[in-house]
């Protein structure tokens, strides 16, 4: 999964920072990430835009069949994606199925039913995206889910249920693809592996205290954290923001202590531009970034 994010970052890299080799990475991703699933944490707008860009890039350039779950109906391309979309194939949207579950129960049923597509590898997704897990988990009807216990325990149990179902479904769809010899995906590595990317919208202060995030870390080996730069936050023009993107966890080579760090600039014309910076510390270690994940 992080290999897909890695490919997206390189595909939409800054012209001066991305070499031609990086630009052609999509046919032979030289990813340093090998996570099987990723949780993206950050502000709603930039997280949703990143997931949308990932869906379109994966469908158009990596050959993935994508399912995109989101609570909010998508009526137009997210602003930060519009410019980036111009270089992508419009037909790729046909390979993305957008699903709009209204509640946690509906989302669980939708994900649980994916095995019914399993007999036909061509119909089964190879990339499952869920935007805004928090919107399903905060509004959950958790009464009785974890027996007699506090609401926090019920939310943690519901979070674990959804995460485990996604991982178990990914494992099942991967097995089915391996059996049928499905080789649609172009990306290097276990070509038939079904991948999961979810986003969790959260403020930076809540990242270290939200117990649901610690539950997600149990199931998703890679964490992608988007931290808005302070100088960017001071800017009046919201369309021109700068972000630090931290990839960390067992799914990133080098382990949690030495993850990857990228810079994301959202330009006035809506383009998202990524550039590789360096091996990173965990977000929060820097004085330059804080706030506004």
């Amino acid at each position: 999964m992080a290999d897909i994010l890695d490919a997206v970052f390189r595909r939409h890299g800054h012209p001066t920072s991305a070499s031609s080799e990086d630009k052609s990475v999509l046919s032979h991703s030289t990813t340093e990430c090998d996570g099987s699933s990723v949780v993206v944490i950050g502000k709603r707008g930039v997280c949703s835009a990143l997931l949308f860009l990932t869906a379109v890039t994966a469908a158009s350039e990596l050959g993935h069949k994508v399912i995109f779950y989101t609570h909010t109906v998508i009526q137009k391309f997210p602003v930060p994606v519009q410019e980036s979309m111009t270089s992508l194939k419009p037909d790729s949207l046909k390979k993305i199925k957008f699903v709009y579950p209204r509640s946690l129960e509906e989302l669980l049923l939708d994900v649980a039913s994916l095995h019914e597509l399993g007999s036909s590898a061509a119909a089964a997704p190879s990339l499952v995206l869920v935007d805004g897990l928090d919107s399903y988990l905060h509004g959950m009807d958790g009464v009785g889910r974890a027996g007699a216990g506090g609401p926090q325990r019920e939310e943690m149990s519901a979070t674990a249920h959804l995460a485990a179902l996604l991982i178990d479904t990914s494992s099942f769809l991967t097995r089915i693809s391996e059996k049928t010899g499905d080789s649609r995906c172009i990306v290097k590595g276990p070509a038939v592996q079904c991948r999961i990317i979810v986003s969790y919208h959260s403020d930076w202060e809540a990242v270290t205290t939200d117990p649901k995030l610690s539950v997600l870390d149990r199931y998703f080996p890679t964490r992608c954290t988007l931290v808005q730069e302070l100088r960017s936050m001071a800017a009046r023009d919201e369309s021109q923001h700068e972000w630090q993107v931290y990839l960390s966890g067992a799914g990133v080579s080098g382990g949690t202590a030495n993850g990857q760090q990228w810079h994301l600039g959202v330009r006035a014309n809506g383009a998202m531009e990524f550039s590789r910076t360096s091996k990173s510390k965990e977000p929060g270690d820097s004085d330059q970034q804080r706030e506004g994940v």
């Binding site: 649980a112 095995h115 399993g118 027996g147 216990g149 325990r153 674990a160 991982i167």
Partner: protein
């Protein structure tokens, strides 16, 4: 139950149990002691569930499988085959919240039954499997 979550020692122990049970159709004392040592009191409770044949491996025509474990109170708990989750209170309290246990007795019972080949088998339709996976199945499925 292949899982990167289960620490290596526990994984190796289950492998040893599988091998030993295939050869002798019983578990030697040293493995029982090791089980108790790694999983604590949860081990004895899980072995009780195994003895009572409380674990059922449910499968559907799609090939999807899931474990259903009948708890002591008659409550049915669904555990996945590729990662650890159980809707029981002990899992959410001791594993998720306090982080003091590796897993609950239901998941361990499912692991043991899989290792020893002692789970019951049941076939359901794909639609019923969907409801089981989503935690929205009636207990009599």
């Amino acid at each position: 139950m292949p899982s990167s979550i289960l620490p290596f020692v526990a994984e190796q122990l289950l492998t040893d149990i599988e091998k030993s049970y295939k050869e002798r159709s019983q578990l030697p004392d040293d493995l029982l002691i090791a089980l108790r040592s790694v999983f604590g009191s949860c081990a004895l409770q899980a072995l009780d569930l195994v003895d009572q044949r409380s674990v059922t491996c449910v499968s559907s025509p799609s090939g999807r499988r899931v474990f259903r474990v009948m708890g002591g109170s008659g409550q049915m708990y669904t555990c996945y085959t590729s990662c650890h989750y159980c809707p029981c209170p002990a899992f959410s309290m001791l594993v998720l919240k306090r982080n003091t246990s590796l897993l609950c007795k239901h998941i361990l019972a499912a692991c043991l039954c899989q290792a020893m080949g002692l789970s019951q088998q049941e076939q359901v339709s794909d639609q019923d499997m969907t409801r089981i996976l989503a935690g929205q199945a009636h207990t009599d499925l």
